[in-house]
């Protein structure tokens, strides 16, 4: 009798421990949080709110995918928020109805988006070259590019917003039927590349130990560089969504996203030391952060309160991850 209860208890604790160590922990926490808060926050579980959550989640997820790739190599990209601003401004300058270079041209939207991707990729390439060829630390390189690119975006527009964007463009960000499949395709592709392709394996190897990877014939410089290009391109795609949602090209767009994007990847379980991270984890992290954001908004908490909570959540997630790693090491 007592023996069976203890074994039952053991089984439940074991189940709990397995969940605790599992990669679905964050998803489980999302569900838990949602069910716990749904009765209190009015409209939290409504269909319209789901749409809202998704709409704001998608650009962040897009951005976080790029960051995940960079973090896997053991680097960091602080310049993504400025890249959003710059690509937003560049895209708007091309297609805006007021004095846009291609105002009224039917090809304005595709050309603008292509240009945004090129600019985003170019910022990433610049970071990548400075980090791999000039051997500068990623942190300070992307910090200076952040300052420079943001300054450049402000200089281009003299800190004015550019409005009158074509409807075809703003639709991409605002219509879930377009933005959701777009993000899903990018995410699925990134997931497959990371888990199944040579590029992905090499990325992890570089993150684990770039000396060993180099000795083993991995093109370390090329791989590292391309991670930053991917991050820049993802920032450009996020900018397409965000600019569409804002309906203006703004040189300060995405300014407050840095904590969100790093926080979401870290909550998901991607390591800042490199070699560890998944698109799926990042999706869970983004979801968790956005649920908190959204629910606190619904509870009428002020913007600054939400920021405090988010900071605390990220700290807590990092703490859990540290505990979890110690636990996994001990149990293996």
């Amino acid at each position: 009798m007592t023996a069976t209860t203890t074994s039952n208890e053991q089984r439940t604790t074991n189940k709990f421990l397995t969940l605790f160590a599992s990669e679905y922990l964050v998803l489980a926490l999302c569900v838990l949080y949602f069910t716990a808060l749904a009765p209190f926050a009015e409209g939290f579980a409504s269909r319209g709110n789901f749409g809202n959550i998704l709409l704001t989640l998608l650009p962040l997820f897009m951005l976080a995918i790029g960051q995940t790739v960079v973090l896997i190599t053991g680097g960091i990209d602080l310049s993504v928020t400025s890249t959003i601003a710059l690509t937003s401004v560049v895209g708007a300058m091309v297609m805006s109805g007021d004095n846009g270079w291609l105002a009224g041209n039917p090809l304005a939207v595709p050309i603008a988006i292509t240009l945004m991707l090129i600019v985003g990729g170019a910022v990433g390439l610049l970071n990548g070259i400075a980090i791999t060829r000039l051997r500068m630390p990623a942190f300070i390189v992307t910090l200076t590019t952040m300052m420079f690119v943001s300054g450049f975006a402000v200089w281009l527009t003299k800190s004015k917003n550019i409005g009158a964007l074509p409807g075809a463009f703003t639709l991409i960000g605002n219509n879930l039927w377009i933005s959701l499949p777009l993000t899903a395709v990018v995410a699925a592709f990134a997931h497959l590349m990371l888990s199944r392709s040579l590029f992905g394996r090499w990325l992890y190897a570089v993150g684990h130990n770039n000396r060993a990877a180099y000795v083993s014939g991995v093109p370390v410089a090329g791989i590292t560089c391309s991670a930053y290009v991917v991050s820049g391109a993802c920032a450009a795609l996020a900018s397409v969504l965000l600019t569409g949602q804002a309906e203006t090209g703004s040189p300060v767009l995405g300014k407050n996203l840095l904590l969100d994007v790093i926080g979401a990847t870290v909550i998901g379980g991607t390591s800042l030391f490199g070699g560890k991270g998944k698109v799926l984890w990042t999706l869970f992290g983004v979801l968790f952060l956005k649920l908190i954001d959204n629910s606190l908004n619904l509870l009428n908490l002020s913007d600054w309160d939400i920021r405090m909570v988010k900071g605390g959540v990220i700290l807590f997630a990092a703490l859990m991850d540290a505990v979890r790693n110690r636990f996994v090491v001990r149990s293996s």
């Binding site: 497959l192 590349m193 199944r196 392709s197 040579l198 590029f199 394996r201 090499w202 992890y204 190897a205 684990h208 130990n209 000396r211 060993a212 990877a213 180099y214 000795v215 083993s216 014939g217 991995v218 093109p219 070699g275 560890k276 293996s332």
Partner: protein, 611 residues
Amino acid sequence: METTNHEQRTTNDALLSFRAIEKSFFGVRVLKSVSLRVRRGSVLGLVGENGAGKSTLMNILGGNLRPDAGELLLNEARFEPRHPTDAARAGIAFVHQELNLFSNLTIAENIFLTSFPRALPPFIARRQLRDRAAELLNEVGLNLSPDTLVERLPAGERQLVEIAKALSLAPKLIILDEPTTSLSARETEHLFALMQRLRERGVAMIYISHILGDVLRLCDDIVVLRDGAMVGNGVRAEFTSERMISLMVGRELSQLYPKRRERGDSVPLSPQRGEGWGEGWERHETQAANESAGLNHPAPVTPPHEPFLGSSRRDEAHASQPEKDQSLVTSAATVQGFEARNFVSGNSLPVERRGGPEALLELRHVSQPHIVRDISFALHRGEVLGISGLMGAGRSELARIIFGLDAHAGGEILLNGKALPRSGPRARIQHGLAFLTEDRRHEGLCLEASIADNLALVALRRHARTPLKFLSTGTWREAIRTMRAAVKLSPNARDEQAVKTLSGGNQQKVVIGKWLVAEPRVFILDEPTRGIDVGAKFEIYQLIHDLADRGAGVLVISSEMEELIGICDRILVMAQGEIRDELRSVEFDRERILRAALLDGARTVTSARTP
């Protein structure tokens, strides 16, 4: 000299005793009930192969590790160091082989980092600091300003700073772990004189070294460890180098190293050899063996493994019958004498492939300022070529140059007769070159990654399908499974398990495995068995032989001469970045190798050069 001291040994003159110390890592017992003592004012020599347990024992003494069982007694009181500072406080100072200095601080600051003299706390009394440091530097014979930044010092001088640091604690016991590896001959003499003075002052020392002559010269008592157990313990008079070696090794050399499988094809020759030697390995072997044995008629057939057995037999002979052995050596040496000179003088002819031995890897006059000079040799199909020499002789640097990790200013490196690009390992790997680096943790493995990921890394490219290079999981899983079996990786280890959880031997097998997956034609192994237990060593030797038997060329760099003698077909000896000697298996002789490695041959080389 000290015999009177030895007679006076009583039980209570022990400064420090280890009692039945036990320690296991990952279920492997690395210390098996070790008990030993250090007498006051005496030097204890601690010898044993790498992995015999010396460093574990010293780490326990230093408070870095805790024993699973057993106890330490210091001055007859129980001593349980839990932190390095506990050992320091108890008057125990360490001079480690790997240097623990801070390159961004001055010599004086390094010495007194945790015990700065203070006149007006918290400020450092700089004059006092300088004076005391100068005193200590004087004592260790380092004629430098105490304000010199350590980053400006070469390794030998840094080692002396380490010793000065140990002395600053006014220790009762000093542990010296291979302190002479980076010292010049003069610095070494200075150190030995210093040790003598310290002993006279009543300081006890534990001296760990592979140079057995030094141990015999310096130590009062000697302890021999093998596989974590104490196999010899006594006063110096009870030991000779030969006895220490046989205790350390514990079995005959022939049991330590696997026999080479019989091979059909002829075994190669060095391209530098003159015409007379170009007719085939076996014949030459037989000739040389017969000549050295004083026989005149040619022996009919010699099995290919014979030379190796011969060499090990000669080692035994060397140990028991020095005179007879000497004659063997000299006769062999005279036969080969002119060639060695010829070789060293760098008079390498272009290779003429005579249809026989096929040179897989060939170096022609490879030079890099301050690193290596005029290195020429060839590695042939099916050959195991060893590079011997002291640490810092430029062996690893040469390997790195061959693999393209470091640049070389002059000369050519040919793989399969084609010149390799100047740098970068990638093209070399594609051409069939593999390189097991000396530094397994930093350059060999992704420690956090799984066994499967590590094994797959080098050959991954082959399993990628265009256009997006997606991997075909089936084929690379299959390759991993084959390789796990081939390198005899512990069956308990799961593919997904992180490599860092494996023992040293299994980690090394993973590194070897990852290269074998790529089916290399030339495999360079730099210290392949460092820090690995005897069983795993044997398996690694077998892998090396299998690889050679399948037609690859293997270049093995090792600090353990016995190992090279045991597994190689030919040995090159390096010193000061040059090749000083070349020995074929019949000529294998420790003395000759050591002489070539140790003697300052720069002058002889120069004189040989000038016509």
